[in-house]
Amino acid sequence: MATAAPKAKVMGYLPNDTPPFGQMLLLGLQHVLTMFPATVLAAILMKFPVSTVLTITGLGTVVALVGAKLAMGKYIPLYYGSSFSYIAAVSAVMAAKGVTGAVAPPEVISVATAGFIATGVINIVVGIIIRASGGKEAVDKVLPPVVTGSVAVTIGIGLGAAALQMATGTFSSVFDINALTNLKWITASTITLLAAFILSVYLQGKGFIGMLPILLAAIVGYVVSIPLGLVDFSTFGKEALLRAPQISFPVFNDPLTLTVLVGVGIMAIATIPESTAHLYQISLYVDHLAEEQGKEKYNLSRYIGLNLMLDGLNDLVNGLFGSTAGTNYGENNSLMVITRNYSGPSLITAGIISILLGFIGPLAEAVQSIPTAVSGGLAIYLFGVIGMQGVALMMAEKVNLYDPKQLAIGATVLVIGIGGNIGFSGGFLPIPLFTGVFPYGWPAIATGAVVGILMNLLTLFWKPPMERAAATK
């Protein structure tokens, strides 16, 4: 580990540094361990095959890193795992397709991944627009924090019912309280939630182990689930030790396709501020190390547009081969900061390790055997965190919630998104318009996002009197 190395000179690796092979392997493994819990959990929650997601997100990371190096001669050190922002939109597709099992059949995955192609294209286009308009200001005008923050809240809290259903084993809001036999189930999910809470609070700042509270909580939950009889061991031993992960390709001729393109595609706007924030963060630390080592600064934060294009490219790779849309991982950023290892080649190594992990059958079996109660316990926490991050974004950007404009935009996005996603089957609003595009109804979270964007645009063209007065002063 880089932290254990002698501190004779300023230790650490800059993005373009290549550590010696043995170290690179270890550093890569560490990255894999860091991205593993969230990436696997996102796969499970979206009912995607875990092996495919591991292999293709690894491939996507390698493709994106190589892209940065070729485009600007330096790596942008980010790991692209699967994003939680798409869970709500993908769950709606799964519900509409009547998926009941733990893993959706390939033909349904093919319908959902068409949406990731859309997010990929949207990210690339937004990246180009940022580059052409000369900065982030233009995007902030169209996608102000009150919109992106509220959409993030919607995505997280809109999944609240799904988390509770997983945690209680009900899978429906219609139940008979006297017929429930799920106390074991609730025990497992509660213990998992408690473990996640305690581990993330009390392991914080304890080095590398402090970055794995979710993985450790999942192990605690898993162990507790065994005596409760919730782990299904019959699934083990069916897959070969080494086998190719399932690859499926997007289809664009399904009745749901247009809904998916809009409903899933627009979730890209929730990952844009997150991705940009990660770039700023890592840029700061990379330049700090460069300065300490007396080397030229990287100034990565200049490449906001390029970074989004890489995000989009990664989504395209994932969408094309039946994996989940990605985002760069804050977890891996923290790992890099702690270990002072920002090496691009070690991230590529991590990507290659992840690609290979997808070929190991028993690993997928073990992951797939995690009881839903355990995932449910983690989901209560993690879905809530997505929502809280939206709040954090608005606080960091100092959104004035006493301004009727901001208040109205945020309020509308939240009610349409959360209310629609929880209150209506599959999260589709019962609006009988454009039924050709939306045969099941309008996807609630995407509709909320678009309404928020339109409300904001209206105030750009028709300035509120207070803003006009402030501008002329």
Binding site: G67, L70, M72, G134, P250, L306, M309, L313
Partner: protein, 200 residues
Amino acid sequence: MKLEGEHVFNGPREDVWEMFYDPAILASAVPGMDKLDVVAENVYEGVMNVRIGPVSGKFQGKLTLTDVVEPENLTLTVDGKGVGKVNFTQNPDGTTTLKYDGDMNIGGALASVGQRMIDSVAKSMIRSAFETLDKALEARLAAKKTGTEVNFTPPTQTEFAAGVAKDMVGGFTKVPELRLILYILPVVTILVILALVLGK
């Protein structure tokens, strides 16, 4: 916009200075310079047409030379538009290094085409001007040697336009985002073909 750089002329400093001080040569070297008239000593009046794609701008202005220390340096002032210092150094190998350092304000329709575009056009113009001056100097030195008439024709607008186009294409592939697109297109094409073949 800041403009600075240097250029090495293949000739002695006195000849470079003399050439530089000749309004006819200077006018011919600057692309789009329609005329440059002598108004008073060290004061000229010129009309210049700059065209970048669909946008063009006509500049009319007074050009004043100050701080003239022959044959070492001078300061060029274009009223309201900018100021530039030019410095000539004699090198031991018989060549002359010209250093320039200036600031320019660009307004009007031209400014709307974007800083990067203006930068690359300005660089093209300067490079093209030096190329012309190189040829002019060669012609002058040859004429001086043989005692004949100076035989020199400045490049046409078309030649200049071709030079700008070439520079801009070269500049585009230096933009990381464009290079990334040049990477994304083939990668995605290969992946799509792979997906189509494997999907069958």
